[in-house]
Structures are given as structure tokens and as C-alpha cells.
Amino acid sequence: MEKLMPALAYALLAPLAGGLLAGADRIVSARMQRRVGPPLLQPFYDVAKLFSKGDVEVNSLQYPLALCHLLFMALAGALFFGGGDILLVIFVFTVAALFLVAAAFSSASPYSFVGAERELIIILAAEPALLIAAAAIYKVSGSLNFHAVAASGAPLIKQLPGVFLCLFYVLTMKLRKSPFDLSYSHHAHQEIVKGITTDLGGRTLALIEITHWYENILLLGLVYLFFAFSAPLALAAVALTYFLEVLADNTNARVRWQLALSSTWTITLLLAGGNLLALYALGGN
């Protein structure tokens, strides 16, 4: 990790930015549905309320596992913004996701169990896309370091449009938006009640919420990287991407896991794989 300042800035500020983003997400979603929506700071009020609840934990493993989920996610993001190896970031990110799955598996609730299984399928579906994205970034910019890639001025989006579109598709899964909000979403009406967080409550759930904020900022950082040659364009692209994700959430039903897995892998193969193959074919080496 090269730069300590951005890493620290991420560790301290990402929850604030992520929380505001979550609040904006809910208001935009509500307006698309012709509702008024909550106040912008509502996610912070929710987390504060969750921390104030009493300890009704199902077992003694949930809280430590959720804490590991938070710490590893924050570590992944800090590594990313601090200039660490992006491939390492992806693997730490996956480990963080697995801690959440472990927390869900640790309880005896059948809903939690099914949610955890589905979460594993989602991780399985999304991994190839992330790895191909890392490989593609290296191919085009010669580096796996956020700052080096940004400083190189390489216009990733121009050479990696397929990879970017594939990333957009996979982002829907990671952001828990329809059509891929199979394992957990902010609406409790799913057939598996709350999915992986069914048996998690109080301070454990608060940690999960905060981790989602960290995660969202990290993923949007990855989106930023594709447009990093121009900071204002990149910020606009990030905002537009998130807006389109919210739009997708509001215009699609949830799909079954078989379609989620098969469609993601097909798109990864065709768009991301195809993009990468084209680069090799056209660029030589």
C-alpha cells in the first residue's frame, strides 16, 4: 500500500459517504414510485437505533463474524484506495463476503440457511466478472494500483466497454438491487423473509449496514477507475451508474437463482471475456 492518507480517508469517511448515498438511494427510489421517501439521514438514524437495541443474539459467533465482515471490507477498501494490488483487494473483498455467509450459516433458522446458500451463489456468479475486470485493467494500464492507473491517464472505458457493462450487470447483484436481490434486500417481503440477515439483529445488523456502506463506496471506486482520466467525468459516471442501478431496481422483478447465475456467467463470458480476447487479438502481446 503506497499512500496512507487516501486509505485513512476511506476508512473514516466512507461510512459517512455510504450512508448519505444510501439515504439518497431511498429518496430517489421513493420518488420513482411516487412516494415521498424518508429524510436523507435516515440510514444513520436506523443504525443508531440498531445499536441502542438490547442484545438478543442467537449464538456467540454472530457478532464476532459480523465484526470480521466489517473489518475485512474496510481493509479491502483501504487497500484499494491506498494503492494496493487490485487483485488482492478482490480476494479480501470475497473473504469479507464469506464472513457474512458464515454468520448466516451459524444460526439454525432455515430462512437464514437458504439466504446464505443464495449468497454463495451470488458470490460465485459475480467473482469471474471481478477477476476478469482486474485482468483487463492490468492489460490496458499496465498496473493494478488505483493511483497508478488513474495517473496513467489510460482511458479504460474506451478500451474496456464490454468489461464495464459486465461490471454494471454484476454491480446489481452486489448492491442488492432487483432483479438480483435474491439473498438479501431492504424489503422484507421476500419468500425467505430477510435472507442472510434474518437472524441478525441489534448491533450485529448495525455492523452489517455500515459494512454495506463501505462496500458500496469500494464498488463505486472501481467504477470510477474506468473514467479516472477525467475526474469530473468519473464522478458523473459514478452518479449515473448508481442512478441506473436504482432505476433497474424499480423496473424489474426478482429472478430465480438459476437465471441469475446463468445470465451473469453468459454476460461475463461474452462481454468481459470477449472484450479481453479482442484486446489480445488486436493489441498483440
Partner: protein, 357 residues
């Protein structure tokens, strides 16, 4: 084979009312579904011998919130049958209008719940936004959004002016483009079709054997609608909505057709209102028994009353459509995936408070 047992209900966010299925799962495939019912049984039929038969209409209405008007109407019609009471034509026309409006409301409510069951919250919100307009029409004419207190044995308690009726009819007709936009999504959207098409197919022979009623039956190709041949609907031109596929998508199509049909029926009735009074005087107490069959939004409801000449009935029995449809659900759940269970339960449009009274 490792199996888990997932208790779906009685409290579950996706179910509109308490209904319990213990699902035996192998990974996400349902091997067996064990139903439990009786969570909101209130013993309303038991009150019939304890209340004046004219007052009992209010209890009949409160059997269910969505089907409330038709329950009151069905009960009153059965008692009027025993009394051989001629109900004025205007009262019957008002009943038809409110019954069809109830059908529009009920199907809009169901569309919203179905959208919510397959994870499409925005569609749920839009559908219920249209439902609010229908509720406003109820409140404007009867004074209540859910329980109307407007039907009584012999006719109607209050009259609704012709001007109000035609205004309501025009508002419904004006709502049609928005309704079409929303229902087109149910019928044509890719992710919705992915969730509904080919799911829980009920062939015609099985449908007849299991004794299902209402849209469940009509979606399997059987032309069966209690409004056909009902003297209250004479003079009104309409067709039963029938589909052949028998899957969840076909049932959705049936209900969508019925919404537009009901709007047409209301327009026809509102344009030809009689002026012969709204209630007949009751001169005696019911002595004898009668059946009345109504076409509730969920299917055929049978109202049986038996009186012995006193002010209190001897027996009131209500066979609700959901009770006839639940055995089909138990059968359809086997072999499906967990993700489809709420959709299949909702495809019969379950009204558990009706079923259990």
C-alpha cells in the same frame, strides 16, 4: 438427502393473512407442504342464531375486508330468497355496481400483492396507487373505504344519485389508460413472465377434480362464473374471462380481463338505472331455507340460510372460494422451488379471513 423444514407462516411478510405451510425442502426444491389453517377463526357463523337477522348483515359484511360488500349482498340475497321478498330493480342495480367495483378493487389489490411476491416493489406501489382511487369512490358513495354498511335485507340502506354514479363511471373509464399501462407490465414484462409463465400448471381435468373455483378454474379453460344466469345481471352484456394455459400467468390474465370487464359492466348499469326505490319492506321473519351463489372476486361463494320463523336465524353457512382453492395449492406446491412458493400461494388470491370466518 438432507431436508430442511421451512415454516412459511402463519406470520410471514409475504402472506396477506395468516396461513401456515410447513415446507419440506431439499435445497430449494419443495418436496412436501403440510398446511395448517384456523388462525383467524372467529366463530362468526355461530353468531347467526344470536342476532336479529336484519342486524346480522353487519356481521356478514365483516367476515372479510376485501369481499365485504359481496358477503353482505350474498347473505341478504339468501334471506330475501327465503322471505320471497321482491327487491326493487334499482337496489339490484346498485348492488351490481358496488359488487363490480369491489371486484375492480380486489383484483387491483391482488395484482399489487402478486407484484410484491415476486419482488417488484415499484409495480406494487403503482397498482395500489390506482386502488386508492377506487377506495375514494367507495368512500364518496357509501361513506366507508372497506366496510360499507350500505346493503340490508330488502335492498340498500342509502341511495346513490344517478349523477354520482355516472361521475364514478367516467372516472373509471378515465383510469383505463393508466390501468392498461400497469397491467401491460404484468402481461408482457420479461422478468414478470420469467416468474409467472409455466408455473403451477393446473390442467382442466385436475381443476374440476380438485373443485377449484373462480379465476383458478377459468384460467384452466372452464367457463364457470356465477354471474352467468344470475337475474341481477340480466340486461348487461359481458363475457366470462377464460384462458387455457392454467399457469400463474393465465390466472393473472384472467384477473386483468375481469378488471376491464367490470368497468364496462359498471358503465352499462350506471347508464340504465331504474327509479323504483331502494328497499322492500320486510313483513315477516324468515321461515325456510335457501342457497345463494355469488361470484366473489375469488370465486364462487355459497350462502346458505335457514330460518324457523323467529327473528334469529337457525343457521347461516358460508362456503368461501378460498376454502375450495386451498387443496389445489397444497398439490401445486409439491415439486416447485422455494422462490415460487409465495407466488403460488397468492395465485389463488387467498382470503383467509373469509375462509375461516
Amino acid at each position: 438427502m438432507k431436508t430442511t423444514i421451512v415454516p412459511l407462516g402463519p406470520q410471514h411478510p409475504v402472506l396477506p393473512e395468516p396461513l401456515s405451510f410447513d415446507l419440506v425442502l431439499d435445497n430449494e426444491r419443495v418436496i412436501d407442504a403440510v398446511p395448517s389453517i384456523g388462525f383467524i377463526h372467529r366463530g362468526l357463523e355461530l353468531l347467526a342464531p344470536k342476532r336479529d337477522f336484519e342486524e346480522y348483515v353487519m356481521i356478514a359484511e365483516r367476515v372479510c375486508g376485501i369481499c365485504s360488500f359481496m358477503h353482505g349482498m350474498g347473505y341478504s340475497s339468501a334471506v330475501e330468497s327465503v322471505l320471497a321478498l321482491p327487491v326493487p330493480r334499482r337496489a339490484r342495480q346498485l348492488r351490481v355496481i358496488l359488487a363490480e367495483l369491489s371486484r375492480v378493487h380486489s383484483h387491483l389489490l391482488w395484482l399489487g400483492l402478486a407484484a410484491d411476491a415476486f419482488g417488484f416493489e415499484n409495480l406494487f406501489m403503482q397498482t395500489w396507487r390506482l386502488r386508492e382511487e377506487v377506495l375514494d369512490m367507495f368512500e364518496e358513495t357509501t361513506g366507508g373505504r372497506v366496510i360499507f354498511n350500505i346493503v340490508k335485507v330488502g335492498g340498500m340502506r342509502k341511495d346513490i344519485e344517478d349523477a354520482t354514479l355516472s361521475r364514478i363511471s367516467s372516472r373509471l373509464t378515465a383510469m383505463k389508460p393508466q390501468l392498461k399501462e400497469i397491467t401491460d407490465i404484468f402481461l408482457n414484462d420479461y422478468t414478470v413472465k420469467h416468474r409467472l409463465s409455466g408455473l403451477a400448471v393446473l390442467p382442466e381435468a385436475e381443476a374440476r377434480e380438485l373443485g377449484v373455483v373462480g379465476p383458478m378454474l377459468r384460467a384452466s379453460g372452464v367457463v364457470s362464473d356465477q354471474r352467468l344466469g344470475n337475474p341481477m345481471y340480466e340486461g348487461l352484456r359481458w363475457e366470462a374471462a377464460v384462458e387455457k394455459d392454467g399457469d400463474c400467468h393465465a390466472r393473472c390474465r384472467v384477473r386483468v380481463k375481469e378488471i376491464f370487464q367490470s368497468i364496462d359492466i359498471i358503465a352499462q348499469a350506471a347508464g340504465a338505472m331504474a327509479a323504483d326505490g331502494i328497499a322492500a319492506k320486510i313483513a315477516s321473519a324468515p321461515n325456510g331455507e335457501a342457497f345463494y351463489r355469488a361470484e366473489q372476486p375469488r370465486g364462487e361463494a355459497i350462502y346458505y340460510v335457514r330460518g324457523n320463523g323467529t327473528r334469529m336465524l337457525e343457521r347461516f353457512r358460508l362456503r368461501t372460494p378460498t376454502f375450495a382453492n386451498v387443496p389445489a395449492v397444497v398439490k401445486l406446491l409439491k415439486g416447485t422451488e422455494l422462490a415460487d412458493v409465495p407466488t403460488i400461494i397468492l395465485t389463488i388470491d387467498p382470503c383467509i379471513s373469509c375462509m375461516e370466518r
